[in-house]
């Protein structure tokens, strides 16, 4: 089964999975825990989420390692008790097991890499070297656990995304997908640090990212517009993973109200614009991915 992700995206639109954190919260993860801890404490629950996404039709599943870099883990009490290498390797291993146990073939495993949570100057004191080393360490452990590619996501500062890309490159030769997260402002789409979609994606593509795009923060309707902007200006393969609408708070919990049908219809528009991969972020569940899978198969 010598699958090559970069070949696969030339042949077809790849379907990534949806939200992990919101799925674990639904399974009882509390705000006192870090989601990555469940790779060790409750691996069966994490595997159940992976399995549900595979059954729904996802062709790429993402490890439960969004906040599993050393710097981010050090920010919380529970995180500090976890060994970064162990968490990442275990997370990749259980996702790999889920793929091996599945009856479907051709599933890729993406090692998920999120931001450090610290900021570069002038906002914070994070240095490029610290960030790169943390990402390199995470990528080495994910590689040992058996990932096929890396997915850097929810990056709000292109400088940090670039360090993630460089750190991963130092640890592995596997493909790297990089997603920035954009807010919609009156003047257009910008990251928290003011990067625009076309500048941000160009920098990442010219630094050698195999696929670039956007995830989180905005919902599918806004993501259509963002996809148009990126497709017009970027030649590299593109990926989009929006949230399931805007979260509303209900009884202390974030509730995402978008329906899977609406999400899937918007995502098909993004495919028509020229996306090479699609998937979901916060609030999306296997139902969203199943619906999108059906649309992709039937081509409407």
């Amino acid at each position: 089964m010598s699958l090559d992700f970069t070949e696969a995206i030339e042949r077809k639109v790849m379907l990534f999975d949806g939200g992990m954190g919101t799925m674990l919260i639904a399974k009882g993860l509390t705000d006192r825990e870090v989601p990555e801890g469940w790779n060790i404490e409750r691996p069966e629950e994490v595997k159940a989420v992976h399995s549900a996404y595979i059954e729904a039709g996802a062709e790429v599943i993402q490890t439960n390692t969004f906040g599993a870099n050393r710097i981010k883990l050090a920010a919380s009490e529970e995180g500090r008790s976890l060994d970064p290498s162990e968490v990442n390797e275990r997370a990749a291993a259980i996702a790999r097991e889920t793929i091996d146990e599945s009856s479907r073939s051709g599933i890729f495993l993406a090692g998920d890499v999120g931001p450090t949570g610290l900021f570069f100057p002038p906002v914070g004191n994070l240095t490029p070297g610290e960030a790169r080393n943390a990402f390199k360490e995470q990528a080495s452990a994910l590689e040992r656990g058996g990932v096929d590619l890396f997915l850097v996501e929810t990056m709000y500062d292109v400088r940090e995304a670039l360090e993630a890309l460089r750190g991963i490159r130092e640890a592995s030769g596997k493909p790297v997908v990089v997603e920035l997260t954009f807010e919609r402002k009156p003047r257009g789409f910008f990251t928290l640090f003011g990067d625009t979609p076309s500048e941000g994606a160009s920098k990442l593509a010219s630094e050698g990212a195999d696929m670039v795009g956007s995830n989180c923060t905005i919902a599918s309707a806004d993501m259509i517009e963002l996809a148009r902007i990126m497709r017009t200006e970027i030649d590299a393969p593109l990926i989009f993973q929006p949230n399931a609408g805007k979260p509303e708070m209900e009884h202390g919990k974030a509730v995402y109200r978008q329906r899977p049908e609406e999400f899937a219809a918007d995502m098909m528009e993004i495919v028509r614009i020229g996306a090479n991969a699609v998937g979901g972020c916060c609030g999306t569940s296997p139902e969203f991915i199943r619906m999108l899978h059906e649309h992709l198969v039937h081509g409407h």
């Binding site: 954190g21 807010e183 009156p186 003047r187 928290l192 003011g194 708070m249 974030a254």
Partner: protein, 215 residues
């Protein structure tokens, strides 16, 4: 005559900390009323910076540098507030921080600066503040307000836990809780039993003032 205030505002909008500090000193040399310098000068500047941020004209790095410039001016002026008009601070102390698990510092710092500029005694605990720490600091400083910022849907339940902790320790009558941050709302404040919500630094000051005078 009021050009100095214009210059103060401009120094903040230009994100120029050196200039802001220099102007703060000049206002003292010229024996200007301190609160007037803050409100008509620097606060107008930081408000404009906040507006530019909202509009997407500037971004987080500029916002932070603007807030730093504001802090530098305030550091010069604050000792003078203490020496002069201090009636609010005599009776009202605010413990403020961003809730545990959340490192977003800027909005909270703006609110802290504005409260301080308006004469409140502010105890800023920074970001990622544990539930118990808010309550302990409120006891230690004899505060009558706790202001809690949360920028993430995953961390905002912590605001509720602070309210619960205050109730548990039978301090509810003594301490008012106000909340803020992108995912919060008046409905959320009501749901968790907080005393109010404010969507920006200026309304946060108005809210706390209003609650303070109502007492």
């Amino acid at each position: 005559m009021n050009d100095l205030y214009e210059e103060c505002a401009k120094a903040i909008i230009d994100l120029d900390g050196d200039r802001a500090e220099e102007l703060a000193r000049r206002s003292i040399d010229e024996e200007r009323p301190v609160l007037e310098t803050i409100e008509k000068g620097f606060v107008r500047g930081i408000r404009e910076v906040g507006r530019l941020w909202e509009e997407g004209e500037i971004f987080l790095p500029e916002l932070v540098v603007g807030a730093e410039a504001m802090k530098r001016a305030m550091a010069v002026l604050e000792p003078r507030i203490a020496a002069g008009k201090k009636e609010l601070a005599d009776t009202h102390r605010v413990v403020i921080g961003t809730i545990q698990g959340d490192i977003h510092d800027i909005g909270k710092t703006l609110v802290a600066t504005m409260l301080s500029a308006n004469g409140f005694e502010v105890h800023d605990l920074g970001a990622d503040v544990p539930i118990g720490r808010f309550v302990e600091e409120a006891i230690a400083s004899n505060a009558d307000f706790i202001a809690i910022s949360a920028l993430l849907t995953t961390t905002m339940p912590g605001q509720k836990r602070v309210v619960e902790e205050i109730e548990k320790r039978a301090m509810r009558d003594k301490v008012r809780v106000v909340v803020g941050g992108a995912p919060c709302s008046s409905e959320w404040a009501a749901e968790i039993g907080a005393d109010g919500y404010a969507g920006d630094a200026v309304s946060a000051v108005n809210l706390v003032k209003q609650l303070a005078t109502a007492s």
